[in-house]
Point group: C2
Chain length 342, copies 2
């Protein structure tokens, strides 16, 4: 009395194996009456198709591509590593991961990359990109040709993606705000906010959440206008240094995007670790060390391993026409202090 198989279904429904197969795989040539009989049998016996045996039989293997922005930020590096690692593990599971890098804000390159993937007949796409009409249209194209699409890290709510894999960035900003307010401990003063660019959706949302909390819960704190670091260490360090020079009563720095290295550089150089509360995003080798050294007080992060695994799980489910388990795919906003470093 193991799990029911197609044979059991055939017997229960009083039809042949071939017919059950036709129903299961939605092949033509079955009267709706007969199909209903088969479905009833499936429900009655609680049959679930053995996905592994099925994949074995059809010699299927999934090809998923990750499209990421080009760049050497620590986060991207960690993400690429996670993709590689997950890919190694997934080879056993008949799935193959591939990473494509596209220069930020280069529409032509993006179109070319996605068209190539489409031509390659990949099965699924996980894309991390800024929200532009070009990307939105390409996603629609991909979907039309039967490719499952998820957006990664930064959502594209107006595109017809199947799912978004990433954190709620407004909540992430709120979390940063609360921790900032609590950690400064009742003092009043100014907060420097650094982003890599004010054009990215995730940055905007984090800022939004941060400001909301400041307004609601910590009116004695004044979050200054966003400084742009453009993903460059020196530039980030410079803008912060200038801001520190022109404001006397800075009590904290919130680094909402990449650029943590620029922040920690200034903190270390000016020996500000004990004076300022510094909150950054994304746990990487560097930010981990900065936490240990006390240059950063808090890191808000999303687990890149979870991101990648969730993306592949979702893509796979979509390919198989299965439903996903929402609760399992929700990416948590993790708070990391020196004390709970993994």
């Amino acid at each position: 009395m193991g799990k029911p198989t197609v044979h059991d279904i055939a017997e229960e429904a009083g039809v042949s194996l071939a017919t059950v197969d036709r129903v299961l795989n939605e092949r033509p040539g079955v009267r709706s009456m007969t199909a209903r009989r088969v479905h009833n049998a499936i429900d009655k016996l609680g049959y679930v198709r053995d996905v592994h045996a099925a994949n074995l039989a059809r010699g299927r293997h999934y090809r998923f591509s990750f499209v990421l922005p080009e760049g050497e930020s620590q986060f991207l590096r960690a993400l690429r590593e996670a993709i590689e690692e997950a890919g190694a593990g997934l080879r056993l599971d008949r799935a193959e991961l591939q990473t494509i890098e596209v220069p930020l804000n280069d529409s032509v390159a993006m179109i070319r990359a996605l068209e190539t993937l489409q031509a390659q007949q990949i099965d699924g796409l996980a894309i991390m990109a800024n929200e532009t009409p070009v990307v939105r249209d390409m996603i629609a194209h991909m979907k039309e040709s039967g490719i499952a699409v998820v957006t990664l890290v930064s959502d594209q709510p107006n595109a017809e993606r199947d799912h978004f894999v990433g954190i709620d960035n407004i909540a992430a900003g709120r979390t940063a705000g609360v921790l900032m307010g609590r950690f400064v401990g009742g003092r009043s003063g100014k907060i420097i906010v650094v982003v890599n660019t004010t054009h990215a959706r995730d940055m905007v949302q984090r800022r939004l959440g941060f400001d909301a909390v400041m307004r609601e819960q910590f009116p004695m704190l004044n979050a200054l206008p966003s400084l742009e670091g453009h993903d460059e260490l020196e530039r980030t360090a410079q803008v912060i240094e200038r801001a520190l020079g022109s404001h006397e009563d800075v009590v904290g720095i919130y680094c909402a995007g990449a650029g943590t290295r620029g922040v920690t550089k200034i903190i270390a150089e000016h020996d500000l670790a004990d004076k300022l509360i510094v909150i950054g995003h994304e746990l990487t080798a560097h930010s981990e060390q900065a936490l240990r050294d006390g240059l950063l007080d808090v890191v808000i992060t999303q687990n890149v391993g979870h991101l990648v695994r969730s993306a592949t799980r979702v893509l796979r489910a979509k390919c198989d026409g299965r439903e996903i388990i929402e609760s399992q795919e929700r990416i948590r906003i993790e708070i990391v202090l020196r004390e709970n470093l993994p």
Copy 2:
């Protein structure tokens, strides 16, 4: 040119399929010379055995049992639910999960339960229990009869378990300590510490970590001796109420174990939400609501879903004689505020 199969290995090594099979499954009847040739071929082609096909062929299915303490704490309830949920998903993966509940501190019941499982020839055991000689010996027994064993939530470092699935409770205590210190914001005063029992290993460790941080970083705070709530709402509430009565300058409550409901009851009744910093453990339906209501400031938690999935992954790997990926099995200490609730 897909992945190499046993056929490719046979050809490469110049032996028959049967011989390859004998080598792969370590069956007798192969000269070491021949076996070496096969191994070389495996290395050369980078062959990895298709676990799903293998399981399909041998009709294997894994039977794992979770042994948990009896009780109606919110955490246990969540854990049981997670096991059930994971079990449903794993049916597709030829694994079957079963939960057994054993009264806390009842050696006879524990022995009986484990002996039954042993007789049932289960493949793996995940056990959450207090550290006693009885449990230690039974674990050794189970291991001898070829059952994989992991300890869950609370470790048994002296038992011959294959692995521990859970958080580092010292670090968890430290994390609670730092957040307590930071959140009270420079004030000095006393901290009430509540545990369910001072006999459980995880409680002891959390207290240890908490005290260490208090001593090192927040000397102006005085953590009072542990109060025992014994997992009972009323009793927990009572001891806290009494403590609040006999100390004037309490600034925070750290609830290191189950019993959050007792704490929040007192907080709500005495309207202390704004006066005290309250930190608890384990995110459950109740503690989640308490966070939303502001009755709790922080919850330190471990994701029960991760716990269960990690346990099954590890058990499975051990059954197959595979190595586990350490980094993937490390359970994170999660910090949850109202702002980053999942």
